[in-house]
Symmetry: C2
């Protein structure tokens, strides 16, 4: 019987395992609850109407069409029978495995306040992104028709909670949308007066960057018109707005970029986990007591970065996936000694609007327009396939030259078709 590798989750980690196993004498089954791989680093651009969904997502089975040994299954995992080595699906199906790779990622988390989610959605899926886009654009539409000054101000106040890269990128993009793209389109409101407020609990934004890059990003955001509130923990999110410190801010759009929680993978397999739900794996990325189960990416935690935890970013998931693929191939050739994973940090990137970015590659640091170009080229390079690279390059070029965004569509929800 051919060795059967089951990969749950087709994110950066899961796909890296599959690519790394090309040519190996295995059969592979990929299980995902969605039919597409998503390029999450650009998801905020779908949420802020710069890119459309198909530009940053690929049907998994299309990516695997030439890999005849790979089967793709659309399904939700509900549990894992580690005893009998079977993945149990929510709809009653099951898939046996010889080696299992759990790479199911993370969702945003509300530090015990899940009741905030309806008011402060996060950004992890294509649906999240189109829903956030709808919220942002509808808020401008409603402000245009609102005669009460106070309510109009609330509709034109956009709050982003969390000053990491996603929060910074969202704040910059919304500020540009409001202050640069939309003004000529509205007649009753001046969208340049929209407030974009970034709230961060820590002492500075982009804490994973050096202090001077963080200060540069701070100043750049302010130049775009973003108000930054540091050292402020959010105490409540509601339909009225947000409370932080001793202040209340009336706002109709609140976006959450403050925390993540791992998927349920650790619970499925009964593995020990940390506070954020991440499975604690051994140095070779296997689950304790289960050398046949690997857990990687945002759903695992391992101190493989010179003694520190590996960061929850795409390159880390990819490195782990490649490590797992190599381990599986070595095991098939009879070498079963555990192989320790060591994370190599390439660097941090974040973009602030469409003309500035900060880049920290250790020895090489850059900021400003040059950094923005490096950021853009790097992201186009990491997209999959010529077609999406062309499409994203065309979209960006268009926004850069014309200043207008192509994807300002409000879809779903609210305005339903009427039957007659």
């Amino acid at each position: 019987m051919t060795h059967h590798v089951v990969v749950v989750g087709a994110g950066f980690g899961g796909l890296a395992v599959t690519h790394g196993l090309a040519g190996a004498d295995v059969k592979i089954t990929i299980i995902d609850q969605r039919n597409h791989h998503l390029f999450q680093p650009l998801l905020y651009q779908v949420g802020t109407a710069s890119l459309s969904t198909s530009e940053i997502a690929w049907p998994i089975r299309h990516l695997m069409r030439r890999r005849k040994e790979v089967t793709t299954l659309l399904g939700e995992v509900g549990g894992i029978d580690t005893q009998n080595r079977r993945v149990l699906l929510e709809d009653g199906g099951e898939t046996p495995y010889d080696t299992l790779v759990l790479a199911t990622g993370a969702r945003h988390a509300y530090f015990g306040h899940d009741e905030w989610e309806p008011y402060a959605p996060g950004l992890k899926t294509l649906e999240d992104a189109t829903s956030i886009r709808r919220r942002i654009l509808l808020s401008f539409e409603r402000a245009e028709r609102e005669s009460d000054a106070e309510r109009r101000a609330a509709l034109l106040t956009f709050v982003i909670v969390g000053g990491g890269p996603t929060g910074v990128e969202l704040a910059g993009a919304i500020a540009e949308l409001a202050h640069q793209n939309l003004p000529p389109e509205y007649r009753h409101i001046d969208t340049r007066r929209a407030r974009v407020v970034l709230i961060e609990a820590g002492p500075r934004i982009l804490p994973s960057f050096t202090e001077d890059l963080s200060a540069y990003a701070h100043a750049s955001l302010q130049r775009l018109g973003v108000e930054i509130q540091l050292g402020q923990a959010v105490r409540e999110c509601s339909g009225q707005g947000v409370m932080y410190g001793d202040r209340t801010l009336a706002a109709k759009v609140i976006l959450w970029a403050a925390g993540v929680r791992a998927s349920s993978a650790a619970a499925w397999a009964g593995l020990p986990a940390d506070n954020a739900g991440r499975a604690k794996v051994a140095a070779d990325l296997t689950a304790p007591g289960h050398p046949e189960i690997f857990v990687i990416g945002d759903t695992a935690t391992v101190n493989a970065w010179q003694g520190r935890p590996v960061p929850g970013i795409a390159p880390a998931a990819k490195q782990q996936g490649m490590h797992v693929a190599r381990t599986i191939k070595l095991r098939l050739s009879g070498q079963t000694t555990p192989r320790i994973f060591r994370y190599r940090h390439a660097g941090n990137l974040a973009t602030i609007g469409k003309r500035a970015a900060v880049i920290d590659f250790g020895r090489i640091k850059a900021r400003g327009r040059l950094a923005w170009w490096i950021w853009g080229l790097a992201h186009i390079y990491f997209l999959i396939g010529v077609r999406n690279r062309l499409a994203v390059a065309l979209s960006w070029l268009w926004i850069y030259v014309s200043g207008s965004r192509s994807a300002c569509l409000i879809t779903q929800g609210q305005h339903r078709p009427r039957s007659s």
Copy 2:
């Protein structure tokens, strides 16, 4: 006071009125329940995963950004107070008008069987298109995991009701998807064995074309693997499949392209209407007794095509919109004699898959590959703006050359994000 024209509906008709009034001494308000103008002739390509939503839709207020006299309102009309000349919005707002243009289009209709809609959705909005795409793609996904042969066959049977251009285009596109694009992506099913069945109540498909073009389209569809059932009225649609004549066909995907019903515009204004809900307008396109109200496009009926009713197609709505704009301008200059609208029929086009089309321009008729190129160029020409033309051209070129579709994304519904 500047003359105030209110246009309800930003489809082909409503936009033509607005464009025709450029430079006139009027102020204009456009009211639409969606924020975008939609290029409906290509909607079936979004439904069948060839194009993405943003390629065929434009935010209305973006199209109007340089027209400072035009205000765009997102809102649902609930009624019209013709006495006091006010448009009443569902949310309680109201907009006074001097001249009113109703151009609110049509929805699909089920000949008194609205209960079929959940099982046999139609294709009129972007949401319809993404929902149909989800249905089609999910059916293949489920078939891949289905072990029961009968259920698998039902999942792989696609029924299209209605043999007009939309039905023919859907059938051709689904057949190509199943028989040409998807086979390398599936492991357990052979998507080439999927059945695509087109059911038409009349004696031939494309009844608005000449008999020989209709016969050519019939043969072309069959060559793509579409089964065509003529002279068969559908008696029931359900979750199990479709009943027609004395037959029952088990099918999990049924698409409705058989009939339309006008929007409620006639009812809002208390106007006389035909069986399909279309307002019966005078020869100058005004509502009887209301020279200040025009009704155009799919939501009106008028025998202005050499005594026959104007067809429900985009060029007809555009011609009517331009006629209305000219009438308004003449009235402003003091000429109030009614101006009779005469429809000039340019021709009919329909495409069958990605290599064939039929074109009937009266004296000029074409079919086959040349007709397909004319069809493609004509549609790119009629798209709005350089950006979308480039994007659609790129998508089509890509599909043409690579044979793979870029927009096979399943979004919304079914597979919801889980919170942990």
